[in-house]
């Protein structure tokens, strides 16, 4: 039986008085029941998920599949390349074996973003200053039954090791560059984590971190058993974790087979449902579509409108799931490039860009994309898509007037019609369409401007130039972190890890520093509001084209996908296979 943890009971500590309920909301917002861990998405009368995000202008289409549910079976997905060369669950850039076999400390509701207890079952903030956190583990967590664990319990020592390692505290000992721990900011200010007893972990922070628990929701902050450093990260067959499936077979470039972890049900009753979960390597997009139509795989991504039509023709009974993902596409100027140092130039280009034309042309009549300014609209504090749409530059109804204003701003900055501004827009391939549309729209609005799209053959070449800040403008995509302040730090603070355009503003830095330590929810919200307003009216450090639409076709006999669908389900959808099962139709 799971403990029921809610916002108030979670922080029954001596710090409650000082933090107040508003602060508690930041530290202990694990709300509601976690029975079964099945999420909080409910089926509406129409058989669709009633998304809590509708008020924010985010589309969510997640049909609830009905039928006689069956246990067992083999569930197969296209795994792209099965040569997953980034095995270290803490330093991996992208999808990783531990994303499948492991778990996170906490889970966000994929729709509402509410924190749900998971591996960490409850938590407390016992001191007034918010510098000590007490995390309680679920008592029924067992590592896969293979050496050296042989089914041993996952304890507070494991959790402490994970938190300190994520922070990069072991970098020197492991001879791994500290910068490799890319999720270190998710546990910002952590200086120590220690086991108090087998199920209790004490975390010590150097400064308060209002984003700490949101950081633990991040999809790449996976937990691993503490022996992994000794075992190494090259052989998947040797890897173990506490997740619903364990590695049973690994054939490079061919398939990975996972078998059910028999003790997982003690943690999440009744899960997982499939006996076997398998990924097969299908690198080609058309091949993956064909595999879906022939029923060889259970899901396929359908981004482009024509592709969606083709899949619908081939598999008319399949279900379409649509939501706005946590990714966001953008065009980022380098603030080292003289013309782009001037806010008027940056603002003029914003006013000239037609965001609706961009989104509609990419996603077609079914839509699914959302307007976004400084923060992803799925953040509770982020401006809604509707609100952003009403602002000059984004608003399609005022586009002609906005372009006229843009031309005035450009002339006032000393670049009439963009004369004298020539620049390259680099990209690594996947954002070619954005770069091209940017180029076209800028040429339309500013006849003397000379933007040139420059594709950089490989992703690595692009990544290298991006990291070095060796560009005048670039087109790329970012996966939002699970906390707006963490996002602000990495993207916009002077020297931020992903502030590739070298944007720097003292006022902005001060707001960020205040926000990360602000434990009062109202005050924090106010600071975030100020940040978003100034981002628009004073800073304009980049151009977010839209929040990304995700469209997935799922075979008709797969039930439970509505529990996966939602903005915060990126990356670890494979981990959520535990929620799915077959139905007789």
């Amino acid at each position: 039986m799971h403990s029921i943890v809610n916002r108030r009971s979670a922080i029954k500590g001596i710090g409650v008085g000082a933090l107040g309920l508003a602060g508690a909301a930041l530290f202990g917002c694990g709300g509601g029941s976690n029975a079964g861990g099945t999420g909080q998405v409910a089926a509406g009368k129409s058989g669709q998920v009633e998304g809590a995000t509708s008020g924010k202008g985010l589309p969510l289409n997640a049909p609830v599949v009905q039928g006689n549910k069956k246990e067992g079976g083999v569930y197969t997905l296209s795994g792209g390349e099965t040569t997953q060369v980034q095995f270290d669950g803490h330093t991996a850039l992208a999808g990783n074996i531990h994303h499948v076999i492991g778990e996170k400390a906490l889970e966000p509701d994929p729709v509402t973003m509410k924190i749900k207890p998971h591996v960490v079952q409850s938590w407390e903030v016992p001191d007034k200053g918010g510098l000590t956190l007490i995390l309680k583990l679920h008592p029924k967590l067992f590592i896969h039954n293979k050496p050296p664990w042989n089914g041993r319990q996952f304890t507070a020592e494991d959790l402490a090791w994970n938190l300190e390692r994520h922070r990069g505290l072991y970098a020197e000992r492991l001879k791994i560059p500290k910068a490799s721990f890319q999720r270190a900011s998710m546990v910002e200010n952590l200086i120590k984590a220690e086991a108090v007893d087998p199920l209790t972990c004490k975390v010590t922070l150097s400064k308060p971190n209002a984003s700490f628990f949101n950081g633990l929701l991040e999809v790449r902050v996976m937990l691993m058993p503490r022996e992994m450093d000794d075992i190494g990260y090259t052989d998947p067959m040797k890897m173990g974790n506490i997740g619903p499936y364990e590695v049973a077979e690994w054939v490079t470039d061919t398939r990975t087979v996972f078998k059910k972890n028999p003790r997982y049900a003690e943690f999440q009753p009744g899960q997982p449902h499939f006996d076997t979960f398998r990924t097969i390597g299908i690198p080609d997009t058309v091949a993956a579509q064909s595999a879906f139509i022939s029923g060889q795989i259970a899901t396929v991504g359908v981004g482009a409108p024509d592709l969606l039509d083709a899949i619908r023709r081939g598999r008319p009974d399949a279900n379409l799931y649509t939501w706005v993902d946590s990714n966001w596409f953008h065009v980022r100027p380098s603030c080292d490039f003289p013309p782009f140092k001037d806010y008027r130039v940056r603002q003029a280009m914003h006013l000239a860009f037609d965001y609706k034309r961009q989104g509609d042309s990419e996603y077609g009549k079914d839509g699914g994309w959302a307007y976004m300014a400084a923060l992803h609209p799925a953040f509770p504090e982020g401006w809604s898509s509707d609100k952003v749409q009403s602002i000059a530059g984004y608003n399609p109804d005022t586009k002609a007037a906005d372009i006229a204003e843009a031309q005035k701003l450009m002339a006032a900055a000393g670049y009439p019609n963009g004369k004298g501004i020539g620049y390259e827009i680099i990209h690594g391939g996947s954002t070619n369409n954005h770069a091209l549309r940017w180029e076209a729209m800028m040429k339309e609005a500013f006849t003397e401007m000379k933007p040139v799209v420059k594709p950089l053959g490989g992703g690595a070449t692009f990544a290298n130039r991006q990291a070095k800040g060796d560009f005048t403008m670039l087109a790329y995509t970012i996966t939002a972190t699970t906390d707006p302040v963490i996002e602000m730090i990495s993207q916009y603070r002077t020297g931020g890890s992903r502030n590739y355009g070298n944007f720097s503003n003292t006022d902005l830095d001060q707001i960020i520093d205040k926000t990360i330590s602000e434990l009062n929810a109202d005050a924090r919200k106010q600071l975030l509001e100020e940040f978003q307003q100034k981002w628009i009216s004073e800073w304009r450090p980049m151009y977010v084209m839209h929040a990304n639409a995700t469209k997935t076709m799922v075979q008709a006999n797969v039930a439970g996908f509505h529990e996966i669908a939602g903005t915060w389900s990126a990356y670890n959808a494979q981990n959520k296979v535990r929620l799915l099962q077959y139905v007789d139709k």
């Binding site: 560059p177 490799s180 398939r255 064909s290």
Partner: protein, 322 residues
């Protein structure tokens, strides 16, 4: 003959050395520093096939890039002579082992494709020649022109998609080895072999037709017919065998196309062969593997060219190789 073979083998050495130099130079001509890219892509995650330190200098040393290029070249050649093609930067496995693991799949597809090509090209070419300027000839010539014109990835995509949409028949992407399930294995390999084989057969069929037309006008064919030999013997024994020399030359040269085509075909059909290893290695900047595949493929093709030359003597006894 043996003198000829030895002379040809010796002549391969400078070609082979130039190829190695070209490959090594190309790696260094990549935009940006290879080491920096690697540091960012894999070193940036702190892993180099395990717990190794990914400091820049160590990576330089590991890649053999810490010494001048001429020394790097000589070291690599020295290693290759001893059968050491280096190790994968990711998995730390010897390149030779990686290639050996993938080679069977590519070889099987190549053999099947080659067989398909021969089965299609020779009869089509012969039939087209003996039905010259008739409807059959026009039809077959049209088909072969289409076969030459349509790129392999388009044929591959069509084979994957259209039967699925029209008849509900889908290519299997769940690769199994020959020992796991021979029948399923064959079913998986046939579609990619067809794609490569059709392409290869198109140009060969046209050449077979042309050569057959030329040979069928020779005096010895007229003599054979005058002797009262049946037409099939005239065509197959006296005509085809003499028409095959240039066809064999073209077939030999097209083995290169088969290996090159495997890069695309194996990606489309999700086969774990050498072509896909090449693509993955380029994507992950695993340069020792890329170098190893290119150098070994070059060696293989040079040997194939030698075999083609040697086959001339068997096809036409008038040819003596000295």
């Amino acid at each position: 003959m043996s003198t000829y073979i030895i002379r040809r083998l010796l002549a391969m050495i400078p070609t082979w050395l130039i190829i190695i130099f070209t490959v090594i130079a190309l790696v260094r001509l990549m935009p940006g520093s290879v080491v920096d890219i690697l540091l960012q892509e894999q070193g940036g995650q702190g892993q180099l096939g395990g717990r190794a330190n990914v400091e820049r200098n160590e990576l330089l040393k590991r890649m053999g890039l810490d010494v001048p290029i001429p020394i790097q070249y000589l070291r690599y050649v020295g290693g290759v002579v001893q059968g050491d093609f280096g190790r994968s930067l990711w998995s730390q496995e010897p390149v030779t082992r990686l290639i050996a693991q993938r080679m069977p799949v590519t070889a099987e597809v190549a053999v099947l494709a080659f067989t398909t090509a021969v089965i299609i090209a020779i009869p089509v070419g012969v039939l087209s020649a003996i039905r010259r300027d008739q409807g059959t000839d026009y039809l077959l010539r049209g088909i072969t022109v289409a076969g030459i014109s349509v790129p392999g990835f388009a044929i591959g995509t069509a084979i994957i998609l259209f039967p699925q949409l029209w008849w509900g028949w889908g290519v299997s992407f769940n690769y199994v080895t020959l020992t796991e399930d021979p029948l399923a294995h064959l079913k998986i390999l046939i579609p990619p072999a067809l794609v490569l084989g059709i392409q290869l057969s198109a140009s060969s069929a046209r050449l077979t037709r042309t050569m057959m037309l030329e040979v069928l006008q020779q005096d010895y064919i007229r003599t054979a017919r005058a002797k009262g030999l049946i037409e099939s013997t005239v065509i197959m024994k006296h005509g085809l065998k003499n028409a095959l020399i240039p066809v064999v030359t073209v077939f030999g040269g097209q083995i290169e196309g088969l290996l090159g085509g495997s890069v695309i075909t194996e990606t489309i059909f999700a086969l774990p062969g050498l072509g896909r290893l090449m693509v993955n290695s380029i994507n992950t900047r695993d340069y020792p593997v890329v170098q190893g595949i290119v150098v070994m493929t070059a060696m293989f093709l040079m040997m194939m060219n030698l075999l083609v030359d040697l086959s001339y003597g068997w096809l036409d006894p008038r040819i003596r190789l000295r």
